[in-house]
């Protein structure tokens, strides 16, 4: 046999397996469709979660850039002394933006937002300190990088304490991280479920075609030959479910887009809901097809050994 003959017969074996398995899916459209949908839902859950999380990360990184430090001065420090300090701080390379809130302004704000206005009016002295709002330079991104600046500020003789408003962003990031881990776990579990569903589907198909398999073995088929169409079945189940999951995720995002846009407008944010990137979509399809082949392979290698002619 020449090389091209060998390659040709290998191709014809695969073409035979590929289309005979696709034909089998189409022959039982209803049950195939049900299986596809179940797998697609299992694939869609982690995909959607992943999307929501990566959008969440996008939000928190947007907020990152609005870190603010509030430096509360000691009660005894006057407005003028606060002004002098703020002018000194303007020279600091780690600080880009400074605004000063005088005791009076602070009191006014407090009256406005607290609802204690009448009670406060009876106070004879202003208990509020001067507050300097400052933005760390954009080079300081993480809390670790900002911490030295905070320490420096708190050591100033005028300073009472400094507070970083980023803390809630950090909490959000921590939550996102937990959600990422949970999604990862869920994805692993659901991948196992997909493996089992496809495996079970293929197992039923193997059992339905038991006679055929045994006859094929009798006329000299190798296990590899018999396995091939089932691997392709697994491949098609995986790939088509992956596609369906992709469509269902797209549908979900489409439904969420309008309300999220409204919410985002309320916060005057220019937040854009992101869909799966091309490489994420490809990953979804690759993983689903791979799971299909794996599920089929596992079941075949186990059951084909047991199906012997007698």
């Amino acid at each position: 046999m020449s090389l091209s003959d060998t390659a040709g017969s290998w191709l014809s074996l695969h073409r035979h397996a590929l289309f005979s398995s696709l034909g089998k899916l189409a022959k039982a459209p209803f049950s195939s469709l049900l299986t596809l949908l179940v797998i697609a839902i299992a694939l869609m859950l982690p995909t959607t979660l992943h999307l929501l999380i990566s959008n969440g990360t996008q939000v928190s990184s947007q907020l990152d850039s609005s870190n603010q430090i509030s430096l509360f001065l000691k009660q005894s420090v006057s407005n003028a002394a606060g002004e002098a300090l703020s002018n000194k701080l303007k020279l600091d390379r780690d600080i880009v933006n400074i605004t000063l809130t005088t005791k009076e302004e602070a009191l006014k704000e407090f009256q406005q937002y607290s609802g204690f206005s009448s009670a406060i009016e009876t106070l004879e002295i202003n208990p509020l300190p001067v507050v300097i709002q400052l933005t760390p330079s954009s080079e300081l991104k993480s809390i670790e990088q900002i911490q030295p600046l905070l320490d420096r500020l708190e050591k100033l003789s005028e300073a009472d304490f400094a507070q970083l408003d980023m803390q809630w962003v950090q909490r959000l990031q921590a939550i996102v991280e937990i959600a990422e881990r949970a999604t990862m776990l869920l994805a692993l579990l659901l991948a196992l479920a997909v493996l089992l569903i496809i495996g079970n589907t293929i197992r039923l198909e193997l059992q339905n075609r038991r006679d055929e398999i045994i006859i094929t073995k009798l006329v000299g088929a190798t296990d590899a030959f018999i396995r091939r169409p089932f691997l392709y079945s697994g491949f098609w189940y995986g790939l088509l479910s992956g596609l369906t999951a992709w469509l269902m995720t797209a549908g979900t995002i489409f439904l969420l887009e309008r309300p999220i846009q409204n919410l985002s407008n309320l916060y005057e944010s220019n937040f854009q809901l992101q869909f799966l990137t091309a490489s994420e979509s490809l990953t979804l399809l690759t993983i689903s097809a791979f799971l299909g082949i794996c599920g089929a392979w596992t079941v075949c290698s186990h059951h084909l050994k047991k199906m012997q002619p007698e």
């Binding site: 017969s9 014809s12 055929e212 009798l218 006329v219 000299g220 088929a221 190798t222 002619p309 007698e310």
Partner: protein, 226 residues
Amino acid sequence: MLQFDHASKRYPGNIDALNRVSFHLAKGEMAFLTGHSGAGKSTLLKLIALIERCTRGQILLDGHNLNKVPNRKIPFVRRKIGMIFQDHRLLHDRTVFDNVALPLIIEGLNYRDTARRVRAALDKVGLLNKENSLPITLSGGEQQRVGIARAVVNRPPMILADEPTGNLDPELSQEIMALFEQFNQVGVSVLIATHDLELVNKMGYRRLVLEQGHLTQGGESSHVAI
């Protein structure tokens, strides 16, 4: 071509289906394997096709010791044997053409050569006009001829048939046997298990007679000498 050397087969439960069977079937030879039901005819054929393994002794097929064939190589032994069964063992949801093509598809032959050889085989058994029928629409004799076409389509050097005429009337049986004779005439070794003694006697080939697992005629069984 085929050499049995004190081959025994004991099934689980201490059932001795074959007992120290020895014989030699030459290349291009045709022989009948006869004996009562339960004598071990099917078992003997199964040992050749490695559907069962012999428990003692050895079998040489084309010079290869079948005891030494690992399980994963069994398919390649079966490709050298055309097997025919009483119950035909056809794929009922495939056409006659597809059934006969199976051994060639397994070997990965391209479509053009496959079609050519399938039609040649169907022509030999006289079913060229039925290539698109489903087996179920054919008569018993026709189904058996589809089985024969499948067995010879990849031109194996040896044909094994287990009661190929078991369900057929004498006239059809004769036709089937005539087919085997034709294949034998072009050099294929043929071993046919049957209990149709009348037909066997009429045809006058070598007879291997099994009685309760012992080869009592036609072999070189050491048992005969006792």
